[in-house]
Amino acid sequence: MKILAVCGMGFGSSMMLKMTVEQVLKELNQVADVETADFSTAASLPADLIVTNEEFAKQLDDGSKPVIAIENIADSQEVKEKLIVYVG
């Protein structure tokens, strides 16, 4: 499974989100590739799942794959609750 963590530049908040997602995957005993991407290239990259903020989620959701909007990207509890539906 490949998960894309998306932010504006692919360098700031997406890296924090990637850390949170990886931590959650570990807690859930799941393995997945988590990569960061910037908003402008995210749509063209292959992925099974996208995690991002609320603004980008609306724009990236083209119906082809699940897009999860996270309010607090460092909150592993929130990420776990939203991710658990799709992994495992």
Binding site: C7, S13, N53, N72
Partner: protein, 144 residues
């Protein structure tokens, strides 16, 4: 992670997000972390990409790219008395200015920041911090 008191301000007033981002960036300039143009890039990023730098309720992470003028990696913490809004549903009271030189070093900084804002209790303490020491203590955790 130990933070100098020079990169922390509490109880600040700003009329809008742009002023808060500039003041937060000014701390990075004064501390020798970034060139002045980096702060302009921070502001420009919000204009271009929208308020996505609000990474948690009430917390903004203004930053730009390493090539926008980072001299030495680091963060600054700028806390307002009252939140300023970015959009109809996004506001921030805590501004964490980020200067990163590359992705690897960057991870350690992000980890330290994530530990504070990912914990709802610590996040509340950060938003309410009224002294520089309180902020230093929140960030100065075992993981360094």
């Amino acid at each position: 992670m130990k933070l100098n008191k020079e990169v922390i301000r509490v109880g600040q007033l700003a009329s809008d997000w742009e002023e808060a981002v500039k003041q937060c960036g000014q701390l990075l300039i004064e501390n020798g972390n970034v060139e002045a143009r980096y702060v302009s890039a921070m502001v420009e990023t919000v204009h271009t990409l929208g308020p996505y730098i609000v990474i948690a309720p009430g917390v903004a992470l203004p930053h730009a790219r390493p090539e926008d003028g980072v001299l030495q990696q680091g963060i600054s913490v700028y806390i307002l008395r009252k939140p300023v809004s970015f959009s109809s549903d996004k506001e921030a009271i805590v501004f964490i200015g980020l200067a990163a030189q590359n992705k690897v070093m960057h991870l350690n900084l992000m980890k330290a920041v994530a530990e504070v804002i990912g914990d709802s209790e610590q996040l509340v303490q950060l938003k309410k911090a009224r002294t520089v020491r309180e902020v230093q203590q929140l960030f100065d955790k075992e993981s360094g």
